[in-house]
Symmetry: C2
Subunit: 116 residues, 2 copies
Amino acid sequence: MSSQAELLERVRFNASGLVPVIAQQWDSREVLMMAWMDLPALERTLATGEATYFSRSRGEQWVKGATSGHRQMVRSVASDCDGDTLLILVDQLGSACHTGDRTCFDGVSVDLEGER
Amino acid sequence: MSSQAELLERVRFNASGLVPVIAQQWDSREVLMMAWMDLPALERTLATGEATYFSRSRGEQWVKGATSGHRQMVRSVASDCDGDTLLILVDQLGSACHTGDRTCFDGVSVDLEGER
């Protein structure tokens, strides 16, 4: 495991000051959602252990589940090899998706094996 | 499961014509990497069953593993609720990461539980 300073050194925010973050349920390994963090959102996530993102549409920080109660308790934060994507392992309370589905990937899915 | 037409209707490419794609190993559920597809890369992925991405640095399509042999055989392609992220379940041959690691998230990682 690394220090938070090592992580913050590694992360490369894009031209808009954001980094994409994949949230994965720590035990079932379901991929729950993808969202974005700016530096303050990442720092708040590290400080509080609750996933905090940056909304590109609203232009503001949001604590996941602050309204719905569907918070994400963060167990670990990993950077990829070139620092431009983060993977967080979380314990998702309730549903990750605003539709009420457990994950945001419960909708349209194509089975390629079935098609060949 | 949905049709490829439903998937292509759902996907929303960003202003650069790209959509982020999370690649997950289908059986172990490891998150392997995140990369980008443009429409031709997505269409090629659907047509061939081999993950094909768009390199933002090189400005061209790349078939994952075309040089290294570390191809990704795609089992399914799912869109998230608002169509701006894809999740593909793959069978990764060899390593996903160019460093030789199995996944791109094998480097810097902070354990938040350990820090509190």
